[in-house]
Subunit: 171 residues, 2 copies
DNA sequence: TGCCAACCGGGGCGTGCGTTCCGTATCGTC
DNA sequence: GACGATACGGAACGCACGCCCCGGTTGGCA
């Protein structure tokens, strides 16, 4: 790979990281190119599609989270809650985390699977109500993460969801 | 107003009601026109903008809900929960309810205000945790309603949110 | 029945975006 | 230092959508 190509690839990644974090996946690709000081065509020389660029930017962080979710925990309930808290924290700080759970990609599917595993183990441990499915949890998180970018208090939202997950019947 | 004009206006309203319910606010206006059997121009003769059409379609239902929310209740906690349940039911059946809380309009603002009133009274009655604001509640509902169109179980989601709102500290 | 105003349809404009194409500039090698 | 491969930039394409315009049509009143 030519030196200038590598340099440009890096500039694109840096710009994308910043803008995806600030504005989420919806940021126009031309804006990323502009911030990187290159043309849109250059972006496409390095990444075949916008999704691919997004995945390249979020890959490391999300993969780390998934790995931590997959390792066995002594308290599955705590493990799930910790994971959700971490997602909430990330989402509160960077707008791309809430899109990582939404934008179609192999990474997103792995994230969903990891969530499903955590949920199942927490349910088997009796910490979380059993009438909730992976799909429900993903939908709930999707909604919660999105809500965080609309001026709501992240900590309060998280508390509500966590205490709602607790296994208990209707009041 | 000419007879054919009134007839077309009605056809547009019917088509818009169906399509907004099925696909939400994002349905292309041309599709509404096509379903109504008229041209896009005709739609704009009767409604100055897409938002105006949307408001005309949702006005009656939302206004009714707001009215029911504003009348005093003996149990403010139950009143809030009933209202949220009703919103969830509507949203589960029709995709436009979850957009009524989002699409900018004077109607949406009234809905937010009504929610705020319900929340405040429930908090004063001690049924709902006091560290949540109107903005938080709106964001939470926004997320929950959106989640309902992604295959999640509406009843379970609602239960989680309601039990999370209950005034209690962290586990 | 004839006339005019009101209304209709749909083609078209402007915009924004993801993506592609190609003439030009640049890098790295011989 | 020259040459070929490689990469660059940005103009342009295709698409989708909200919205407007205009030639033709239709409805209702005299």
């Amino acid at each position: 790979m030519r030196a200038d190509a590598a340099r440009n690839r890096e500039k694109v990644l840096v710009a994308a990281r910043e803008l995806f974090a600030e504005q989420g996946f919806d940021v126009p690709l031309d804006e990323i190119a502009a911030r990187a000081g290159v043309g849109p065509g250059t972006v496409y020389r390095h990444f075949p599609t916008k999704q691919a660029l997004f995945q390249a930017v979020t890959e490391a962080r999300v993969a780390t989270m998934i790995a931590s979710a997959d390792e066995p925990a002594e308290d599955p309930g705590r493990a799930l809650f910790a994971f959700l808290s971490r997602m909430a924290d990330e989402a509160a700080a960077k707008r791309d985390m809430s899109d990582a759970i939404t934008v179609p990609s192999e990474l997103r599917d792995r994230l969903h699977t990891a969530l499903g595993g955590l949920l199942q183990r927490a349910q088997q441990a009796g910490t979380v109500r059993t009438d909730i499915t992976t799909k429900d949890l993903v939908a709930l998180m999707k909604g919660m993460l999105q809500s965080m970018h609309e001026g709501a208090n992240p900590a309060v939202l998280l508390e509500i969801v966590l205490s709602g997950l607790q296994s208990s019947r209707k009041p």
